[in-house]
Amino acid sequence: MDSVEGKAQRIPLRQRPEWSDVTPVPQDDGPNPVVPIAYKEDFVETMDYFRAAYLADERSPRALRLTAEAIDMNAGNYTSPAVSLFHSLRVGVERLSGSAREEMDSVEGKAQRIPLRQRPEWSDVTPVPQDDGPNPVVPIAYKEDFVETMDYFRAAYLADERSPRALRLTAEAIDMNAGNYTVWHFRRLILEALDVELHGELDFIENIARSNPKNYQIWHHRRWVAEKLGPDATSKELEFTKKILSLDAKNYHAWSHRQWVLRALGGWKDELDYCQELLEEDILNNSAWNQRYFVVTMSPLLGGLEAMRESEVRFTVEAILAHPENESPWRYLRGLYKGDTQSWVNDPQVSSVCLRVLKSKNNFVFALSMLLDLLCHGLQPSQEFNEVVDDLETSGPDQPDSDLAKTVCSVLERVDPMRVNYWKWRKSRLPHST
């Protein structure tokens, strides 16, 4: 699992004869990118060659190998066998980049780990082995260090020993498996019992999070600590989530944590600007759109959805016109009228953005889909709508449906074949009198 494309001794692409004929294409980040990512050199080089191959549409064996390398490097890519319940819940054995590993190893002195049984500090404790029974299923061939650490952990846990050495032991156990919620839970009990100053705990979490950004336990623990620290923690938490999101702008846990911080501790002032930055960087980032919705509806500083609607509609319409194939602003636009369907149906800005996209005859599936919803909610279509939709309905030459909603469904069935059953169903459920 760790040997994909021999990453260990990666040879730079520019030194491989096979790629000598290709000029890499650098990323056009502009002179002052927002939230620039400090890419590793290997990553930059791979992506530059990938862009070259992609733009040339080179469908060759070497290009295939290159995509494998590129995917292998992508920040959202974990090669772990590890998950719990859903995909995004993966606990990663994400390969650590060199520098991160060095830092990790210096934490808790992992590099030259001294066995617990040789540490005088633990000499009074008898380790408790795992009660796996004689013939366990899914037995894991643990490494010796792992077994020993967990055996001592069990001893401390069963004795309910809330001591400094037990606290250090939980750190070692977490470092070996950050998904063990029992260890995290016991750690919290100890932190409370010893009344430990918790700012240091934030650094501990940050170190662990670097290699496990998608692990539930870390984020739950982080929330617990931040809650104890109160409003003092606000800016640090916002910074921390920002850092995680700069590596993966769609990390579900990071967004949940950020929302919790805003709600529980505050810090709303710059949040809309932050959403704006992320969307300028990647207008397809649906998590940023979702956060924008959260801010617009929840921020105590903005006056709520209705007060914000006009400016938000303007922003969203612009985003749609720039990328009508982008689903996010379409759903966002609909969301801006949540609970007030009548305004949505009657707002000329809504029908006009549909019309403009339909007239372009390009990437119009979401425009048609919204038009259909509008019609189902009572929109009286203008003649222009009838004309532009008839124009798109190329299949039936001479008998255009008198019912616009029906025609819309027919066009969708044809241009959006992945959802053909859905559009047929929608057609079968149209109100009888439109």
Binding site: H87, P136, Y293
Partner: protein
């Protein structure tokens, strides 16, 4: 208006998407270029290799699995359920070992932990219970300490109606689903557990139409399945905006033919079940969907503004908790979920049973053929096991949920549970046929019936 994406810098989303598209389409192009016999070989489910991979995991896991040391009941479930989907057998000794091992994960005060001696956790409790149902038989089913388990579920209940994953653990939609699923299948769902769960799930349905893990978060396939299944099991599904949910989930199937988990994210085989399973549920909710649409039309208004008809608390004033229904099951398992007629008394624990007996809409509303293509050509590792997407390694989680999704596809057009699907519903040879699942619980349907009957008596 149209800016050519090739001339401007692609965003991270576009870059990642294009890389995946490139790999997926390469697979499809290769497939299209093959002669007929090679094509059918490529579409074949590699049963022997999958079995080898699965059985190996039951017997030994590499040290890298230490990061899953707190998820061992999950490993049991992913593997045992995959084997059951393939309708293959596990040596009876291994089954005994599984029962024995899971008993060691069972906490003396109820619930199952991630391994022996770990705290009980709702997710691993769900995985352990589903594993034991999958193994089936008296010894397996009676190894669950129901009374203690019920106490554990109650301890996790919060005033808001939601549940914590474990003592002082996180609260989210998964916790609601795993609790309600386990309680329902063990015939111990009651007012106390159900109270306000619906309010919590409802607060997680987002403006996009899907359901998020927590209020305010982004709509997500896994949570959408969990939230929808929970609402069905507590008989409050009519409170969700189902038309909005259906529209959102319909758009999650992309040109790669598989499902993505969220808007503008990458295709991933595990959503074959989370999203595909939501379709299997929606296929049996048409009367409620129609009701919501009629309401929308008559008001010239939208279901966002939430019609609210029928609530669970009206219904389940009959039996409660573990004091079960004995052989009344068949008599009481009648009306719930028939349209909106929620006013008649009935046993809330029978909803899972009645649900699967509901007539389903004939055609699923997703593209079953396309999804099968993605699973077989893109997520199958010919050496055994299934993966998220091309370029990733196989793992037990994606094996389980890809196969579960494949089963949903294959059975999505059979109206009658007793008649096997037509060969035309299956992509690839008929030997690809998998066992049918109960989509609310994701266990093999027959094993569900066995468990339902068993626990109705206890």
């Amino acid at each position: 208006m149209e800016s050519s994406a090739a001339t401007t810098t692609p965003t991270v989303t576009q870059r990642d998407q294009w890389m995946v598209e490139y790999q997926v389409f390469q697979k499809y192009e290769l497939f299209a270029s093959l002669p007929r016999n090679a094509k059918s070989a490529m579409l074949e489910l590699q049963r022997d290799n999958h079995m080898e991979y699965l059985t190996k995991g039951l017997k030994r896991l590499e040290p890298s699995f230490s990061v899953l040391d707190a998820n061992r009941p999950w490993l049991c479930y992913w593997i045992l359920h995959s084997i059951a989907l393939l309708d293959e057998f596990v040596e009876s000794e291994l089954e005994d070992n599984a029962i024995e091992f899971l008993s060691r994960c069972q906490d003396p005060n109820g619930g199952y932990g991630g391994g022996p001696g770990q705290m009980p956790h709702l997710a691993t409790t769900y995985a352990a219970v589903n594993s034991l149902i999958t193994v089936g038989g008296e010894q397996s089913l009676s190894s669950i300490n129901r009374e203690k388990l019920y106490m554990f579920l109650r301890r996790m209940k919060q005033a808001s109606g939601a549940f914590r994953m474990h003592d002082a653990g996180e609260i989210d939609v998964r916790a609601c689903y795993t609790t309600i699923s386990v309680a329902s299948v063990l015939n111990m769902l009651d007012d106390e557990l159900v109270q306000n769960v619906g309010d919590y799930i409802l607060s997680c349905q987002t403006y996009e139409g899907g359901i998020a893990g927590e209020p305010g978060a982004e709509a997500h396939g896994g949570y959408t399945f969990c939230g929808l299944a929970t609402m069905i099991l507590i008989n409050e599904v009519n409170r969700l905006d189902l038309a909005g949910l259906l529209d959102w989930v319909a758009f999650r199937q992309g040109k790669e033919c598989g499902f993505q988990g969220r808007t503008n994210k990458l295709v991933d085989s595990c959503y074959s079940f989370w999203q595909g399973g939501a379709f299997a549920l929606l296929q049996r909710l048409h009367s409620i969907l129609d009701e919501q649409l009629a309401h929308r039309h008559s008001r010239g208004n939208c279901s966002n503004d939430s019609p609210q008809i029928g609530v669970a608390s009206d219904i389940c004033d009959g039996e409660k908790g573990g004091e079960g229904t004995s052989s009344q099951v068949d008599k009481t398992c009648h009306f719930m979920l028939r349209g909106l007629d929620a006013s008649r008394p009935g046993n809330i624990n029978c909803i899972g049973y009645n649900f699967i007996k509901q007539p389903a809409e004939e055609e699923p509303l997703f593209h079953s053929w396309a999804l099968q293509q993605y699973i077989l050509l893109c997520s199958q590792d010919l050496k055994g096991g299934l993966r998220d997407k091309p370029g990733k390694s196989r793992d037990y989680y994606h094996t389980c949920y890809s196969l579960s999704g494949l089963s949903v596809c294959q059975h999505s057009r059979s109206h009658d549970e007793d008649s096997p699907p037509l060969p035309s519903a299956l992509m690839g040879p008929y030997s690809n046929l998998l066992e049918r699942i109960h989509p609310l619980f994701n266990v093999i349907l027959e094993r569900y019936y066995e468990a339902h009957e068993f626990f109705a008596k206890s």
